[in-house]
């Protein structure tokens, strides 16, 4: 073989596909919905045809959850889900519908809704309103929107916590995400409690925008790119100028900003990616390296079933959350089999996806029923909505469990916090 031949190696990621079809076996959508061609066909196979003629773009690609389970399964490291998302970005012809824009614009809708939270929550729960949303907006009537908080996390933080954060020896910035800000400030408060007990001051980023995952899923790529640039600028400032790494409590926001930004949106996250971590991983590493110590309450008892969110699986980070939970003496941990819950952000809210969504989650729901836990724990907020709606079991982020289980006073002392 000559030099020319040795140098002739494909650098097209989709050409590394060996058609083994493992991805299709692990695709939660293909398993329940025959109308979806599956990741192999929609990804590398379809890519060849789309290169020949854009008319081969198949609208069925919208059925992809972007759960990335295909990429985890692929033995050839083909970025299958990225191929599918990129094809959607390149070929989608329709402008987003009003519904998709509303579902995607978490920041805007969240800001409006929290102002009139009681009215919003009340009306979103009303049967006639749900019926209208079902028929007019095609948001499935079975869905309950997560309740909007009456006070944003940022507002709470500024009023009650911000001042004392500078007193700590160490510092982090917290990317709270839309869910904590508008729907569930309690998780953000729990994070501040835990980090403060470990001797870390928590700060908001100079400017935080929604990570953009819902914008990407709903075809609003330019908006997503803009928000990505804003987030990266704020994080660079935090990391470089203030020496504050960035932590989060949402696996999906983290995954989006670490991996989807450069791969899908072309947003450069160099210098940020390695300093952007999920809080459970951040804390686990601190404990592991002996930099902080944890003290737990003796009266804490809880049976917890941990669900690995798809993007946690893609990042390979579930182990940090489960190992952290295992440190809690009174906690009995059941690790659920890795199955997609079916919601995938705004996907399951859409009427056309409801049945697929519930069929995908069925295995997980029955596993949870069988495990009979006090709580389910997961690092993803949309998994939380889906599991709570579908099983009736309450779902807690590992950080909230940690906040409940820690002996705060003793932990503060162990970490030299006055």
């Amino acid at each position: 073989m000559t030099k020319t031949q040795l140098a002739s190696i494909s650098d097209h990621n989709f050409e590394q596909c060996l058609k083994c079809s493992i991805c299709t076996v692990y695709c939660p959508v293909a398993a329940v919905n025959p109308a979806y061609p599956g990741p192999k066909q929609a990804g590398p196979d379809g890519e060849r045809y789309r290169l020949k003629d854009p008319k081969f773009y198949d609208e069925a690609l919208k059925m992809c959850l972007n759960c990335k389970r295909c990429e985890v399964a692929c033995p050839s490291d083909v970025r299958i889900a990225d191929l599918i998302q990129q094809a959607r970005m390149k070929h989608h012809s329709h402008r987003p519908k009003l519904r998709d824009m509303m579902l995607a614009s978490t920041d805007l809708v969240g800001s409006l809704a929290t102002v009139v939270a009681p009215v919003t929550n009340f009306s979103l729960g009303l049967k006639p309103v749900k019926a209208v949303m079902d028929t007019v907006m095609a948001i499935d009537k079975h869905r309950t929107f997560p309740a909007y908080a009456s006070q944003k996390f940022e507002t709470w933080f500024r009023k009650n916590a911000e001042k004392r954060q500078n007193e700590f020896a160490h510092h982090v910035s917290y990317f709270h995400g839309c869910y904590v800000n508008y729907n569930f400030p309690q998780l953000g408060q729990d994070l501040v409690t835990v980090m403060n007990a470990l001797g870390y001051g928590v700060h908001l980023l100079e400017k935080e925008k929604c990570c953009g995952v819902a914008l990407i899923a709903n075809g609003m790529y330019n908006q997503a790119r803009k928000q990505g640039e804003t987030n990266m600028a704020s994080m660079r400032k935090s990391i470089n100028q203030q020496s504050r790494p960035v932590i989060t409590t949402s696996s999906t926001c983290t995954f989006t900003m670490r991996d989807e930004y450069p791969e899908l949106l072309g947003v450069n996250n160099d210098g940020v990616r390695n300093h952007l971590s999920l809080a459970t991983r951040f804390i686990f590493n601190l404990v592991d390296e002996g930099k902080v110590k944890l003290a737990f309450r003796h009266d804490f008892k809880m049976r917890v079933a941990y669900h690995t969110a798809c993007h946690m699986q893609r990042m390979g980070w579930a182990i940090f959350s489960t190992e952290l939970l295992r440190m809690i003496p009174g906690l009995e941990l059941i690790e659920l089999d890795q199955n997609c819950c079916g919601i995938s952000g705004t996907y399951g809210f859409k009427k056309e996806n409801y049945e697929t969504s519930q069929a995908i989650g069925a295995k997980l729901f029955s596993d949870i029923d069988a495990a009979k836990p006090d709580f389910v724990s997961t690092d993803c907020e949309t998994c939380k909505w889906q599991i709570e709606m579908s099983t009736g079991v309450k779902v807690l982020n590992p950080i909230s469990i940690l906040a409940q289980a820690l002996d705060i006073e003793k932990t503060r002392q162990l970490n030299g916090v006055n």
Partner: protein, 540 residues
């Protein structure tokens, strides 16, 4: 001996594009026709070329007559063979190492031959064809296009049949029936049964390409031909949208053609002995030459997966004693053996190119008609082929499945005859090329499919990235079920995979090799295909 009682006006030997075209023309003029092919249609040079619909520009400087024929036929094929043609246009590029002055000579020669040739700015060339070498210093846009020889041939065969012709593939002519210096017919072996059959006709037309030399020998007639081997490489996906040529005197590996889902670089040109033409293999040196020259046309070829290598044999007729085979006219040669050799009822049509097959057929048919006293006019230049009756892509706004869109590229308007009503019929057999169960059923029922090889040429089964890994066993199972002969299907499957490997072997490195290894693991290791074949052969 099985005597077919029917007496034909014409027997056509050779199921390549020329033979298929002759059969169609004869049948359209009201003659009774039998077309005989020793293997599958398109098995020879027709199925082993670039798939380039020449504008004629390549020959403009050196062979004006061929160039003029090409552009005329090019314009005709755009109308009568829409579903086989993709109107891509082409570029002739000048690289820094080439003489830019040649561009003027080239353009003048094109215009003189009636070929549109527009000099465009290199920047514009890059804009309309981003894959082209960015170092180019000159570009000419010409009306080259891409054409699918498999579809074109089958469409001609089908139309011949629609006009009453009989067509038999897998029937090899073994000898002529000659009486008093007149060819009265042929004896042919049915390759599947071994049976020898006799067929009689007033006129026999030899349209067997390079094999025509051997056919003529059977009638005691000598035709000197140069078998010129041309090797080509197929890449895994399309890197170029337009045909890319080098603007210089025709040389090796200077044409890159986008064909369906792939692109093809070629060719080399080497004289080979006539004894070797049934088993062409591509050498390492040829692969290296194709790659290193190909990268000059489109640098991204260097980082694109290569699917396979193949080689065809040009049927160049020796007009003089030029040993190179390149400077021979590609002009059409029609031999009336009654005049030339004193053998009545026998015609050879050869030389030419795929591009001029229709004209070759017209010339041969004119001669046959003259001999038969038939005065009908030739309508093949205006009558669309089956599948090309209308513009293939009807934008009716209806949502079309992937399988339908893929099939439409292959069957044109006849796609509507493919049944895709049930999930079972819509199921994909070949995932790389989007071939459904319904399309395979259609091909088997209507397109002379006898095995996986012929099925591949009708539908692209096994032509995609996996080269048969996923589809070959599914397709074999379908054929086995239709024939009710599973052992035959198993042997066919093994043979098909061997044929795929033959083409992969010269380019087996990187992901292409990994793919082939996985295929071998599945068929040999998991399914025990070779063991199954061995057992069967041992028990015979």
């Amino acid at each position: 001996m099985n005597n077919n009682n029917k007496h034909y006006d014409v027997i056509v030997i050779g199921g390549g594009i020329t033979g298929a075209g002759v059969a169609r023309d004869c049948a359209m003029r009201g003659l009774s026709v039998l077309l005989l092919e020793r293997f599958d249609f398109t098995n020879g040079a027709t199925g082993r070329n670039h798939g380039l619909m020449h504008s004629g520009a390549r020959y403009a400087v050196t062979d004006k007559e061929s160039a003029t024929e090409c552009i005329k036929e090019n314009m005709i094929l755009r109308k009568i063979a829409r579903h086989c043609v993709e109107e891509t246009d082409g570029l002739f590029i000048t690289l820094p190492e080439d003489d830019l002055a040649y561009q003027r000579t080239f353009v003048d020669a094109c215009l003189a031959a009636g070929i549109r040739a527009d000099i465009i700015d290199p920047a514009e060339a890059l804009a309309i064809e981003p894959a082209v070498n960015p170092d180019l210093i000159g570009a000419v846009r010409i009306p080259d296009a891409s054409i699918d020889p498999f579809r074109l041939t089958v469409a001609n065969v089908i139309d011949a049949r629609l006009h009453g012709a009989d067509a038999l593939n897998y029937h090899e002519v073994t000898e002529f029936i000659i009486n008093q210096n007149r060819v009265k017919g042929v004896k042919a072996r049915d390759q599947h049964t071994g049976q020898i059959k006799e067929f009689r006709a007033s006129v026999t037309i030899n349209a067997a390409g390079i094999w025509g030399m051997l056919i003529a020998q059977k009638a005691g007639i000598t035709i000197n031909m140069f078998p010129a081997k041309g090797a080509l490489l197929i890449f895994g996906h399309r890197v170029n949208k337009m045909v890319i040529n080098r603007c210089r005197k025709p040389a090796n590996a200077d044409i890159l053609v986008p064909d369906d889902t792939v692109c093809v670089i070629g060719t080399t040109s080497d004289r080979v002995p006539i004894e070797t033409v049934d088993d062409m293999r591509v050498t390492d040196q040829e692969v290296q030459l194709l790659l290193s020259e190909g990268e000059k046309l489109a640098p991204s070829l260097a980082t694109t997966r290569i699917l396979r290598a193949y080689a065809g044999v040009r049927p160049l007729v020796a007009a003089d004693n030029d040993p190179s085979g390149r400077n021979i006219s590609r002009g059409i040669v029609c031999l009336d053996h009654e005049e030339r050799d004193g053998m009545a009822g026998f015609i050879t049509i050869t030389g030419g190119k795929m591009m001029t097959y229709r004209l070759m057929a017209q010339i041969a048919t004119n001669l046959a008609c003259k001999k038969l006293g038939n005065n009908a006019t030739c309508d093949t230049d205006t009558t669309p082929l089956p599948g090309s009756e209308q513009i293939a892509t009807q934008r009716d706004g209806a949502k079309r499945s992937f399988a339908f869109n893929a099939a439409e590229g292959r069957h044109g308007t006849y796609t509507s005859k493919i049944k895709l009503d049930t999930d079972a019929d819509r199921a994909l057999v070949c995932e790389c090329e989007g071939v459904s169960v319904g399309e395979i059923k259609y091909a088997v029922e209507n397109q002379h499919v006898h095995n996986l090889l012929s099925l591949r040429r009708r539908t692209r089964v096994g032509m995609g990235t996996c080269q048969g890994k996923l589809c070959a066993c599914r397709a074999a199972a379908l054929l086995g079920r239709f024939d009710n002969n599973i052992p035959k299907a198993q042997a066919d499957l093994a043979q098909f995979l061997d044929e795929r490997w033959k083409g992969i072997k010269p380019v087996a490195w990187g992901s292409t090799l990994r793919e082939a290894q996985l295929t071998a693991t599945i068929y040999q290791g998991l399914c025990g295909l070779d063991k199954a074949i061995e057992r069967k052969e041992g028990s015979k």
